[in-house]
Amino acid sequence: MSWETVIGLEVHVQLATQSKIFSGSSTAFGAEPNTQASAVDLAMPGTLPVANEQAFHYAIMFGLAVNAEIGRTSVFERKNYFYPDLPKGYQTTQLAKPIVGPGWVDIQLKDGSHKKVRIHHAHLEEDAGKSLHEDFHGMTGIDLNRAGTPLIEIVSEPDMRSAEEAVAFAKKLHSIVTSLGICDGNMSQGSMRFDVNISVRKKGEEKLGTRTETKNLNSFKFMEEAIKLEVERQIDVIEDGGKIIQETRLYNGDTKTARSMRSKEEANDYRYFPCPDLLPVVIDDATIERLRETLPELPDARQRRFVEQYGLSDYDAGILGDDAAMAHYFEAVVKVCGDAKLAANWIMGDLSARLNSEDKTLADCPVSAEHLGQMILRIKDNTISNKMAKEVLQGIWAGEGDPDTVIDRRGLKQVSDSGAIEALVADVLAANGPQVDNYRNADDAKRPKMLGFFVGQIMKASKGQANPQQVNDILLKKLTELL
């Protein structure tokens, strides 16, 4: 039997504001527990929230970037439930009147096709604190540093039909919010968290199947794994004659397994109502237009520009233009070296490989765009060969200095002095009389293949520093003279 998967996403994005959404506390990650929690964040009696204007601006920027309507009157509501890391006993969020209304984004799939994924809405809300279960011997610690960090929760329509589409959509959102600069995009620190709603139905059927929600996926890889696992599980259950229960599930990326957290029957009644401490926020045209003018270039437009301006392939432009940090790095390298193709190759090749192998991002890349650009210039002016450049890159990565310093210190300068190379060629030919004889006696057709031996010997004699092109040219000239 043939099954169709239906996926919708709820994405929590931490906004990169300096202070929290309703208090003046810092939002910086990684501070000592409860050092960034004020009386407001602790929900001390009598404290009151004041909405952070920047959070609204960021949310509006997101709305504009996903072609959405902006909620002209935006209302905060209280979502009531008890949990130790939720100090007020309610979360201040939006329900009936969110800041961002319906919108859409375009995703590109591996086969090159495009698809529109609709966004139902996105709303502003506060993050909760964290419950710490380790280190407390049967007790639970509460860290309220995160409590009150501004979030937008983006809710998609159930428009995705595979794990690939869901991941492409998630990556698209990641690239949009990082390009906008409204989120640092750091998924391992929880800056973006994904909840995935999954159901399956028989191909051709209109009615949606019962869905489950897998919560708090914090990497694209886990998201893909979790979706595939859950789809398989649902199909197995149904094919075995069972029924899918509406429930919340948790995926464990280490064990590659998922388990049920709670079923719908146990779901809370959140008793939403408008927060009387916060008045409705009215967004006027002028604010929207002002923010529209400040929008940076978005990934789709940037990728188109990279193809046109730099002559990159769609594939290269897709990779280099998708991520804001990557795009900035690429353009900075091109600015120094003036060669987009080489810049693209080095960034997507050796540099990315090294970053991946050391689990680093461009943000903490030891090779600056300027240095990479200078290194490419040295390839172009024949100071170093491509092969030497790989070694130069290692040197820059290791902190040995700028490209010229590394070239100097490691003695990697290519020998392009034709007199020196002629001498080397002469030495090698003189030392290898039998091979020279063989060359002379061989057919014209076989001779080119025999050049490799001499080139190898010459390069070895030059300790790899001879300009290979010059070696080739001079060798051929000398051998032809001997014929």
Binding site: M44, P45, G46, Y90, D269
Partner: protein, 485 residues
């Protein structure tokens, strides 16, 4: 000294007739001698008060310009957070709670160098009209210690009536300033919603709560309002409007002032003797040149039911933070999280608070929200519209503050609805966000009666002017209960 009004005490300090330390000692001494009878204070901050009195005296002695309330002792309702001083909201839940911050209202008095005698008793979390719900026991009405002082600001009202403090701060969510003012024979003002900052004022029902003063005279209320009213960026519902000097226009005439008397406020539920006293007061104002006409507030009868949906709904969320996790009462040896929540809240809250949390949670729950919360909000808009229409015809609306004078303890204890109906004339102004006042206008069976004045938004100065003019030709506000000497 305790018979003097706030204005007279301010003048006495300015003239050097007495020092703030002398004055403060005098009131502290009275509290020590008499408050065992009234139970108006939860916490008396004697040593802090004497310290700030000495500092105030020094400030005056230095010759620098000082605020009129510099060195004048007052009391704060125990709903306003005071840094370093226990703020209980009259609940076992917060019996051990010492805030690390001041309410903006408290800060404002500190800035004026006023002296704080202590924190006054109240209904638990301001939920009550009799002060019987306090964890620290009921407050006695100085006019009849067998009767309630009203609530929820009963401690502040009794303290002023018994001359334990010349004035006190209070809050009014559904009559909690005006009703105790009426029952204790003093003056009280609930300002326009948004005039006084709610920062640091422990929330009962956020869209209705408003801080305001209790004192003996309208002039004293004006002095208090000059300190209490401020724009506060920490309270998003606070209005950024210039604060007038509320004393400036006290002596203006009121000739031509259009007074509306709502016929709905003189219904069958009103004690006929209270009605008589209120009518007499209105006639007195007519003599001063006010033009009186009957008006109608057709949705008045719906204010109590609407209030008892909206206020508990907001309270049910506002009181969720009292969970035993971060501060306040925590049950002993909780077995698990659920047990911690259940026993902490079961032990920490009194019956009336629990009743309102339950009612509020019910009104907001799935399937009931539209029938209760939404409907109540619609009614609230109708009630507000009643007033907006009325203020197209008149400048002030006058009537009784409450249907009856002070009632005996326990007389409404088993009937919450009868208790709720004591607030029938005061609640509508909270729903509409309007300013409301109560001033003494007579006695029924030896117990004070309050005249309620409701003004248009931000017309507090004009209301105080009207009340002051009334107090120039009457002496109800000068009457003192027996047995307070």
């Amino acid at each position: 000294m305790h018979d003097k009004t706030l204005a007279q005490l301010s003048a006495g300090l300015a003239s050097g007739e007495f020092s703030s330390v002398e004055l403060t000692r005098h009131f502290l001494d009275r509290i020590q001698r008499l408050d065992a009878t009234y139970n108006a204070f939860i916490t008396v901050t004697g040593s802090e008060a004497l310290q700030s009195a000495a500092a105030a005296d020094a400030r005056r002695a230095s010759g620098d310009a000082v605020h009129p309330l510099c060195g004048v002792p007052i009391a704060h309702k125990d709903i306003f957070c005071t840094e370093g001083v226990r703020t209980s909201c009259a609940s076992k839940m917060l019996d051990n709670f010492v805030p690390p911050y001041n309410a903006t209202v408290v800060e404002n008095f500190l800035a004026a160098s006023a002296v704080v005698l202590g924190k006054t008793n109240m209904d638990e979390f301001a939920m009550g009209s009799s002060n019987e719900t306090s964890w620290y026991g009921p407050v006695k009405n100085p006019w009849d210690t067998g009767c309630v002082p009203g609530g929820s600001s009963g401690g502040s009202a009794a303290a002023v009536a018994a001359r334990l403090a010349p004035a006190a701060t209070a809050t009014d969510t559904g009559g909690s300033i005006r009703q105790p003012a009426a029952l204790c024979g003093i003056s009280g003002l609930k300002p326009t919603y948004g005039r006084v900052s709610r920062w640091g004022m422990i929330a009962f029902a956020s869209s209705l709560d408003q801080g305001g003063p209790l004192a003996r005279t309208a002039e004293d209320l004006a002095l208090m309002m000059n300190v209490m009213a401020s724009f506060d960026p920490k309270d998003s519902t606070c209005l950024d409007l210039e604060v007038p000097d509320y004393t400036t226009n006290l002596n203006d005439g009121i000739a031509g002032l259009r007074i509306g008397v709502p016929k709905e406020y003189f219904d069958a539920g009103l004690n006929p003797k209270t009605a008589e006293a209120v009518q007499a007061a209105i006639r007195e104002l007519e003599k001063l040149g006010a033009k009186v006409q009957e008006i109608s507030l057709p949705h008045s009868g719906l204010s109590v039911p609407a209030y008892y949906v909206i206020a508990p709904a907001e309270a049910s969320a506002n009181l969720s933070r009292f969970d035993g996790v971060r501060y306040g009462h925590r049950c002993a040896d909780p077995a698990d999280l659920r047990d911690l929540y259940m026993r902490t809240r079961a032990e920490g809250f009194g019956d009336e608070v629990k009743r309102r949390i339950l009612v509020g949670a019910y009104c907001l729950s799935a399937g009931y929200y539209d029938a209760y919360y939404n409907k109540a909000q619609q009614v609230r808009r109708l009630i507000k519209q009643d007033f907006v229409s009325a203020f197209e015809q008149v400048d002030m609306i006058l009537g009784p503050t409450c249907p009856n004078p002070a009632f005996p303890f326990g007389s409404k204890g088993d009937n919450p609805v009868a208790m709720y109906l004591e607030d029938i004339y005061t609640i509508a102004t909270n729903l509409a966000g309007l300013p409301g006042m109560s001033i003494p206008c007579g006695f029924v069976d030896g117990k004070p009666v309050g005249l309620q004045i409701v003004g248009n938004y931000f017309s507090e100065a004009r209301m105080l002017n009207l009340a002051h003019q009334y107090q120039q030709v009457t002496d109800w506000h000068d009457k003192a209960p027996e047995g307070i000497a």
